[in-house]
Symmetry: C2
Subunit: 215 residues, 2 copies
Amino acid sequence: MRREIEDQPICVAIVEDDEAIRHSLAQILNGSPGYLCVNAFESAEDAIANLPADPPDVVLMDIGLPGMSGIEATQILHDRLPETDVVMLTVQENDDAVFNSLCAGATGYLIKSMPPAQLLQSIDEVYRGGSPMSASIARRVIRSFQSEPDIASPLTRREREILEHLCNGESYRVIAEKLFISGHTVRSHIKNIYEKLQVNSRAEAVRKAMQEKLI
Amino acid sequence: MRREIEDQPICVAIVEDDEAIRHSLAQILNGSPGYLCVNAFESAEDAIANLPADPPDVVLMDIGLPGMSGIEATQILHDRLPETDVVMLTVQENDDAVFNSLCAGATGYLIKSMPPAQLLQSIDEVYRGGSPMSASIARRVIRSFQSEPDIASPLTRREREILEHLCNGESYRVIAEKLFISGHTVRSHIKNIYEKLQVNSRAEAVRKAMQEKLI
DNA sequence: GCCTAAATACCTCAAATGGGTGATTGACTC
DNA sequence: GAGTCAATCACCCATTTGAGGTATTTAGGC
């Protein structure tokens, strides 16, 4: 917990190009006990340049910024200020952009049309180690990290089996013995695998297999 | 949506070894319009054997089952019945087990002590494509899929560089040319990499590199 | 019954790989 | 000044791999 003294406010920075929204958010924050808007930028570049000097607890980041997008900015800030939580500001919640933001390192997101009370509550939840999100975003997040083997795999069952052994670094001979087939057969399968995966070495095959979760 | 006719109830199966809890859950479900307990098993083995014949919409799975654990069962059911959502039943929510269950394919989880209304609401949310979860679990889930390169890598900078080329399937000679060093040096580095990663082939090194996000 | 895809098997050969051993240089630490 | 480590280069040698072929036998789909 960063905030040992419980009556220290949560320090928030805003990155939002629309001046009206920016001011309105700042007012909501500064008008509420426990929250403090310490900074407000109108561009990602501005925020990246100035934030590291005085890292806030939470950054509210507009997704659709002109120039550098909020998602790119999130990636950079998340790298440089690992202690700071980035929360996205978005108009529409079931958005690819929201999902991509989470991939880029955002901890949560706010819908711009949220009532102020709920908005503050979400900030608080993020600050306390949570990640509030809607049902459908939650599902997408979970799906994406449950490594589902790609059903649309171009490989046959036997080929997948061989690929698995290949990934373990087993030699043709060992694979052949384990599968009770001849080494020649293993070679044939591997050639087919390479062709289908568009690679021409074991290393590339392993990489592709891992990346596309073929096994 | 599986339930085109909106007044079809959500079909739920229960896997729970404690008879009292099992009956209580079944009663809650059957006593509520829109929900139907179609099956109740006292073991994971039982459920796996009988569920595929008549797949429910949602399975409530106890985490701490005797014999095969609920997590293993989830993995199997999730594979065999991809249309069915598995929801874990747990006493304590901020549990490694819950997180592991989600990795295994669970879509959500219920706290056994939840009031019935909230319990039904969670089932409904899962059924409608959501994934209700607590703040801290949500954060863990998000963290885990934000692929942070492992900073505690045992490899030196040069070794990581070589490893990257290795993952691309480049031959020693090509790597040597690209890095303006001799092939012998490349070999030396690779030998050191293998030793540090505790592997003895390129394939295993690539796999490890991908898994541990060393590159 | 025919046809295709999948799985099986065999051959040759040049190139790449991995194991072992050892040396030199520069930088950094104690 | 001694010791350590990263990075570089070197040699020997057995094994593995990848690329080029060809061919037989199942198993399913039509």
